[in-house]
């Protein structure tokens, strides 16, 4: 991907280090997509097909060589949007709705304003599990590492919801 620089992870372990050394690279909770950092630029390129390298060709790269990651991002947004339309924004699914809104924002999407024909509890669980499966598959399949990290995090964010763990 032109002009892209992978974010750095710096973790040092020295004798006697506190276990705070257990960490990965710092990345904004608001996601790789909305940040002004390299990762945000990278996925902005994914979303727009823009050529970010000022020294390279100005030909629209997306038109000539479609990026499979673009399709994944579009599908990921569509899945979250479809879920938000059918999830009751109260009770057991309240935190799920909040999570999906944040996840959609992280993918640079816009949350739908209204809910239609809300899911039953069993439908919520089935659809959310299916969504988590898809996000995990996309995380493994996509080419861009930062996008993979975001998609995997979304899958984890879905699976840790109480409604999926049967504790709500």
């Amino acid at each position: 991907m032109p002009g892209w620089t992978a974010p750095r992870t710096v973790v040092r372990h020295r004798p006697g280090d506190r276990v705070a050394g257990v960490s990965g690279s710092g990345i904004s909770r608001r996601s790789v997509l909305r940040s002004g950092g390299a990762a945000g630029v990278a996925v902005a390129a994914l979303l727009t097909g823009c050529d970010l390298d000022p020294g390279s060709s100005s030909q629209p790269s997306a038109a000539s060589t479609p990026d499979p990651d673009q399709r994944i991002v579009a599908d990921a947004r569509a899945v979250l949007t479809a879920l938000l339309i059918r999830l009751p924004a109260h009770g057991a699914t309240e935190s799920l709705v909040a999570a999906h809104r944040a996840q959609l924002v992280a993918l640079d999407g816009t949350a739908p304003a209204r809910t239609h024909h809300p899911f039953s509890r069993s439908q919520v669980v089935a659809h959310e599990r299916r969504a988590a499966d898809r996000f995990e598959r996309w995380a493994v399949a996509c080419a861009n590492g930062d996008l993979a990290r975001l998609l995997a995090s979304i899958a984890a964010g879905i699976r840790m919801q109480p409604v999926l763990r049967g504790t709500s």
Partner: protein, 140 residues
Amino acid sequence: MTELDALQRTLAAEHAAIFELGALGGRASTLTATPLRTALAAAYDVHVQRRDELRPMVAAAGGDPVAAEPAYRLPTPLTTLAQIEAEALRLERACATTYAALVAATSGPSRRWAVDALVATAVGEAAFGGPPEALPGLHG
């Protein structure tokens, strides 16, 4: 960061996690909080298993698996149930961040492993009182 670097850092994190969870389990043994002790023991077993899985992954990537440090500094104090539980949650969240970084730096089977580890760790945070998050592993 190369895939090998990311695998080595994750292995180093597992060494630290195993050390700390062992210490937390020892501290918790003086308390009556059986659910917490059970959760700490389960988390310890999971991290030992991941350490054992990571060693051949590092070797397959062409590296010499990093060894554990002789000791790691623990936060103090760790005397109450709340302190032990909070430290365990901090540790698991740190591991989730490490796995998320591994997702970004790898592909294929190693990425699949990292995705599974991230998801399982996020789900397991509930055992230490962790509330659901929208984007686990992306903070910090």
